[in-house]
């Protein structure tokens, strides 16, 4: 599904440059629920942005479904994201002027799905996440956990090939976080949804099928979740 080969990313700001990724190679299979973990600044978000087509790598290759995405034009990338990828952000990133259901079906409108179809899809997904009653609410009327569930509904309503999530629980309390992670696992199981999630909370590990740990822009461990030495995951304050 996803092949990442010797991926490097250098951020340069004037004379200073940061090697955020230094030769990452990995592959992710269809239907996997992969956690990307590591200390703050280890390059997790950077990696996610590259494979999510939100940013361009400095060198290396990314293949999604066998397609080399570096060859795509900006317009093709936009269409690729619209039709094949889904995103959940740390701060939910809902449109404040849209209601819950409008937020969910916005990208379906862009894709040209018929109104009947996207309305019923939206209804179905909102029922699944338990927010059917709040479909006319605005973002400002929802709790953080509810907002994040709407954002997940928005990401999966189009059945993307890959769902990306960058620290979706970072702004939530433990109970809400558990609900959200349960929801991700449910989506992974029931819909066979491929999910790539960045997290630095050690206890999230138990939800993942597989954990990739980064340090200083390199993969230092890749395999099924096991309880590891704390210092690997926590930032070395």
């Amino acid at each position: 599904m996803i092949e990442v080969i010797d991926l490097c990313k250098v951020y340069s700001m004037g004379k200073v440059s940061v090697d955020a990724l230094q030769g990452v190679t990995l592959s992710i299979k269809k239907g996997e629920f992969v956690g990307i973990m590591g200390a703050s600044g280890s390059g997790k978000s950077t990696l996610l942005h590259m494979i999510g087509l939100l940013d361009k790598p400095t060198s290396g290759k990314i293949l999604i479904g066998g397609e080399d995405i570096s060859t795509l034009s900006d317009h093709k990338k936009t269409l690729f994201r619209l039709k094949r990828l889904g995103y959940v952000f740390q701060d939910y990133a809902l449109m404040p002027e849209l209601t819950v259901e409008e937020n969910v079906y916005l990208t379906s409108m862009v894709r040209g799905t018929s109104e009947n179809e996207y309305l019923s899809q939206t209804k179905e997904i909102l029922t699944r996440i338990g927010l059917a009653e709040r479909s006319d609410a605005l973002q400002s009327e929802l709790s953080g956990g509810q907002q994040q569930r709407v954002s997940i509904a928005r990401a999966v309503v189009n059945r993307p090939e890959i769902l990306f999530a960058d620290e979706p629980c970072a702004n939530l309390d433990t109970v809400s976080s558990q609900n959200i992670l349960d929801l991700f696992r449910k989506i992974n199981h029931e819909l066979h949804q491929t999910i790539v999630m960045v997290s630095h909370e050690e206890w999230h590990m138990e939800y993942f099928d597989r954990v990739i740990i980064l340090r200083d822009g390199r993969v230092i461990s890749d395999g099924p979740p096991v309880i590891r030495d704390h210092c690997i995951i926590r930032s070395p304050e």
């Binding site: 940013d55 449109m95 002027e97």
Partner: protein, 402 residues
């Protein structure tokens, strides 16, 4: 750009306006309405003043068409032959001959120089409306002698502050007035009536009858200093003028438009410059205001715009969203602006602005409203597109990090 994309842009625009800040929504609409009013109002007042003086000149001074002596001549000869000819021409309602003679008017130590115009009252009534504007006394009658009627700017107002030049010092009907004509004849008159047309030029005039002038000159008058003509309202003056020329009239024939072009051509040219400047300044204000409104909106929404792009929403959808917002604001502002303009026109029709040349009401044509609306929409589209394009063209990660 598919229809589907435009639909999404419109959807986002409507939601953005209705669920965004109410205060900035109303303020933007109000500002656009004010800009629209500004574009139209000043020029409508000037147009109103121009229309007004045109009407006064036609109604009280020149009629629709003026026939004057041939070049280098002082008089039109064989006036009765000319009048017979003119009155038979289709489109001519009536022609009225004038005979003017310079004079000085005196009353109790006040002296006013002027021109006394002799008319045949029955003809003159059919050409000008001065007879309807008698504020006291009566208009002249055919055949009478020894009577004079005077405009209020010559007779003088009760309150001399209302006088705009030298006057006879508030003479009234029945008062004696001495007229010394430039041919040496001096006559005593009783004022038969005073008229006020509210047009300064017309209100300075002094009229006597044709018979009176014959007695002043001491012989029957067979020539004239000018003929004024009332034409049928259904025919353009220029067409009637052509007919008159085709009937073999040798004298100089001018429509009121010809006369105005000579007198006011420059003024109208300067007016259109003033008008263009007003419109351009208003448009620049509109562009700047809308530019700022949309720039603030887009800068505030940078992260949202980044998110939309991340989700795969095309840049053109995002730009058109703001473009639609601007156009909807402009539509609402223009509608409010038209209401304000029409309201002011209504108010100023009931309570006109008092100008020296009469009461002025603003003159707004649907053409003005349409052309200014189109200009405003073009300005708005430019003002909305640029900031929207700038923010929408930003790199996704840069926008999302903001």
């Amino acid at each position: 750009m598919s229809l589907q994309h435009l639909k999404v842009s419109f959807f986002l625009a409507v939601r953005g306006l209705l669920r965004g800040s109410r205060g900035s929504l109303y303020l933007s609409i109000l500002i656009i309405a004010m800009v629209f009013t500004n574009m139209i109002f000043m020029s409508s007042i000037i147009m109103g003043a121009i229309k007004n003086s045109e009407q006064s000149i036609i109604e009280y001074q020149t009629g629709n068409i003026l026939v004057g002596p041939k070049e280098n001549e002082q008089y039109i000869e064989d006036i009765s032959g000319l009048l017979d000819k003119l009155n038979r021409i289709p489109g001519v309602i009536r022609a009225s001959a004038h005979y003017s003679l310079g004079a000085t008017l005196k009353n109790e130590g006040n002296r006013v120089g002027g021109t006394v115009i002799a008319v045949k009252p029955d003809d003159e009534r059919m050409v000008t409306g001065t007879w309807k504007k008698m504020i006291e006394g009566e208009y002249l009658s055919d055949g009478e002698t020894g009577e004079v009627i005077i405009g209020i700017q010559t007779s003088g107002h009760k309150d001399e502050n209302d006088d705009m030049g030298p006057t006879l010092g508030y003479v009234r009907t029945g008062d004696p007035v001495t007229i010394e004509y430039t041919n040496g004849v001096t006559r005593e008159y009783r004022v038969k009536g005073i008229f006020e047309t509210r047009s300064y030029q017309a209100d300075m005039e002094i009229f006597v009858t044709w018979n009176e002038m014959e007695s002043v000159l001491g012989h029957p008058i067979t020539d004239s200093t000018g003929v004024i003509i009332r034409t049928s309202p259904d025919l353009p003056e220029a067409q009637v003028k052509q007919t008159i020329l085709r009937f073999g009239v040798q004298e100089e024939v001018k429509t009121w438009q010809d006369l105005l072009e000579e007198a006011f051509g420059r003024a109208i040219e300067s007016f259109s410059i003033i008008n263009s400047v007003t419109v351009i300044v208003s448009l620049v204000i509109a562009i700047v205001v809308l530019f700022i409104v949309i720039m603030i909106k887009t800068l505030n929404n940078r992260r949202q715009i980044g998110v939309l792009k991340a989700l795969g929403v095309d840049k053109s959808i995002i730009i058109n969203n703001y473009l639609f917002q601007v156009l909807l604001l402009t539509a609402a502002g223009t509608i409010l602006g038209i209401c304000i303009v029409e309201g002011m026109v209504g108010l100023l029709t009931v309570f006109p602005i008092v100008f020296p040349d009469g009461d002025v009401t603003p003159y707004v044509t649907p053409g003005d409203l349409i052309s200014n609306t189109i200009l405003l929409f073009i300005a708005a589209a430019i003002a909305g597109y640029i900031p929207a394009w700038r923010v929408a063209s930003e790199d996704i990660m840069t926008a999302m990090r903001s």
